[in-house]
């Protein structure tokens, strides 16, 4: 199970980082989503991986740590809201700027 989770984490993070570094907003948003999935999975696995363990101390030989699950819940809510926000923002800026580039030289940009 450890190997499987570690591989998943690695693949998700790699894809996320690659996509975040792409020049268009759509792939960046996808990349951010993947990155946040990877982070959630990672946080979840920080309570150690057990199966069929109750979240109560003393009820069984091994107990599952409930705290990372609570943390993941918070992280999921935040990342979900942020994804929604960044999608709207990306759409708005694509409409206003008439392109969907995150980076690069833009001739219409005001100097500062």
């Amino acid at each position: 199970m450890e190997v499987l989770v570690a591989l998943m984490l690695g693949v998700l993070t790699t894809c996320g980082v690659y996509l975040v570094l792409r020049p268009r907003t759509f792939s960046v948003v996808l990349g951010l989503t993947m990155l946040s999935h990877a982070v959630n999975l990672f946080l979840f696995s920080m309570g150690r991986l057990h199966s069929n363990a109750p979240a109560v101390i003393g009820a069984a030989q091994q107990h599952a740590d409930p705290l990372p699950q609570a943390l993941v819940l918070t992280a999921i809510v935040i990342s979900f809201a942020m994804t929604a926000f960044v999608v709207v923002l990306a759409l708005r800026s694509a409409l206003e700027l008439r392109n969907d580039h995150v980076d690069g030289v833009d001739k219409e940009e005001e100097p500062i």
Partner: protein, 499 residues
């Protein structure tokens, strides 16, 4: 007793009310918002009075004992930050009331939510709670940055949001590693646990600490992670930019709090962090100075000056001595107030010069050249560090507090050179904006007297800084001593049976 939770509750309820009561007139919204900020200022003053005793105060949320529950911690550092935040918020909200708050919806509610995040972040004693408050202040800041709309704001906003979302992901990874190894999220408890770790777990802690440096580096604009800042701050509306002047300082506050407390033990995890932070901070200072020379508008120049001040601060923090940290705290307050003043001043200049705005091009004579020139000159003298204003005192103290060989060999020349470059950049700005005048008909536009008087008040604060330098320096020294003697914190916190 319950005073400590008020800096979180007041803006929370004020923000919620402002959102729910959508039908409020602008006058009522302003009154509610200002009332809430005045309340926060009052609470911050009371808390400061409490913290001046030098003790630590803890507030256990829901009466859950730390390390199981979330605990709020009040010491001199957090009291100082609360006071700075409330003061700055008062000025920026008052300035927004001149008219900028009409340019978009929900301005006052967003300011309150921003303050909720900021106040919470400086009070909390729990790492995950710090993350949550960081998210709250970031979400509010995303919306505030876009306040008023327009292409430049969308462009800068998108980059700012993406940058900070990646930062949040890193923050969570670092927290996950720290929790996975130490089994706790309370900062004090974690500091104790980190000391007792077996040698095999050390590299992981180092990695997590380095990740936290990246995260706080993004917030605080450390060298490779700062290029989002100039455009974002220059694009923001003036009162928003003035409030954002403190956002980078929150990254620095988090560095001070987390690195000194959690990783500040004798085994020297923080020493490896300082090895990274010190050269990067100096490079930040250099890049900031170069950027200031290349700036084409007063907003842009101010944004780069924020970066110079951040670099100076971080270099002083990495010295990790009581005098260096104390002078850094004084410089933190001074530079926050002054950069906020400059953002507001840039807005004044834009109101006085409708055509060329605050770009460094020669324009017609403005309506009140002496007034505007005097304000600009005073602010420039104060920021650049010329006597007798606050910049001079804090910079001299910074220089005299650095005593290592590398301090003399590298920090001194770089700080002095960057100050010189800032003087050159500010002189260029002043002569282009106010000194040189074209032969055209004089401009008739002017800023409202209330806006001008707010800038005057902020500058008076800088004068007060140098008048009250002695007590402020005593306070900063005792605060730095309190930060660096972490044993007292660890003894004072009522860690329950979890240990």
């Amino acid at each position: 007793m319950h005073l400590m939770i008020l800096p979180v509750l007041i803006p929370l309820f004020a923000g919620a009310l402002l959102t729910l009561l959508y039908g409020l007139s602008m006058r009522q919204q302003r009154a509610l918002s200002l009332l809430s900020i005045l309340g926060q200022l009052l609470v911050a003053l009371l808390l400061m009075q409490q913290a001046l005793s030098g003790d630590y105060f803890f507030y256990q949320l829901g009466n859950w004992q730390p390390p199981f529950g979330i605990v709020l911690v009040l010491d001199q550092l957090s009291a100082m930050m609360l006071l700075l935040l409330a003061g700055l918020a008062l000025f920026s909200t008052l300035y927004a009331c001149v008219g900028d708050d009409r340019k978009g919806a929900h301005f006052h509610a967003l300011i309150q939510f921003q303050l909720l995040g900021l106040n919470g972040a400086v009070l909390t004693g729990d790492l995950f709670n710090l993350f949550v408050f960081f998210e709250i202040l970031l979400i509010a800041s995303y919306a505030l940055l876009l306040h008023g709309g327009g292409r430049e704001r969308s462009r800068a906003g998108l980059r700012y949001v993406i940058m900070n979302l990646v930062g949040s992901a890193f923050f969570l990874i670092a927290l996950g590693v720290l929790y996975g190894i130490t089994g706790t999220l309370n900062m004090a408890d974690m500091a104790v646990k980190v000391q007792q770790l077996p040698a095999a777990d050390r590299p992981l802690i180092h990695a997590a600490a380095a990740l936290l440096l990246v995260v706080f580096g993004i917030k605080g604009a450390l060298l490779p992670l700062l290029f989002w800042l100039p455009r974002a701050y220059a694009a923001a509306a003036a009162p928003v930019a003035a409030l954002f002047a403190v956002m980078t300082k929150i990254g620095i506050y988090a560095m001070i709090r987390v690195f000194y407390l959690v990783f500040g033990g004798e085994d020297g995890i923080h020493l490896s962090l300082w090895q990274w932070l010190w050269p990067l901070a100096l490079a930040t200072m250099v890049i900031g100075a170069i950027g200031a020379l290349g700036a084409r508008s007063l907003r842009g120049l101010t944004a780069w000056m924020v970066i110079v001040s951040v670099g100076t601060l971080m270099a002083a923090i990495a010295e990790a001595s009581i005098p260096a940290l104390a002078s850094a705290l004084l410089y933190l307050c001074h530079s926050t107030l002054l950069t906020a003043t400059f953002f507001l001043l840039a807005d004044l200049v834009q109101r006085y010069r409708p055509g060329p705005r605050d770009y460094f091009v020669t324009g017609a004579r403005v309506r009140h050249p002496v007034l505007l020139g005097a304000l600009f000159f005073t602010a420039a003298v104060a920021f650049a560090g010329l006597p007798p204003l606050s910049g001079f005192i804090s910079k001299v103290w910074l220089l005299s507090s650095v005593t290592s060989f590398w301090g003399y060999a590298v920090f001194w020349p770089l700080l002095l050179a960057s100050s010189l470059v800032i003087i050159v950049a500010l002189s260029r700005a002043g002569s282009a904006l106010l000194w040189r005048q074209s032969k055209q008909e004089p401009l008739q536009a002017k800023a409202p007297a209330s806006a001008t008087s707010l800038v005057v008040c902020l500058l008076t604060l800088s004068v007060l800084f140098s008048v009250l330098a002695q007590p402020l320096m005593t306070f900063a020294t005792s605060t730095a001593t309190q930060i660096l003697t972490t044993e007292r914190y660890l003894h004072a916190i009522p860690l329950g049976g979890g240990l």
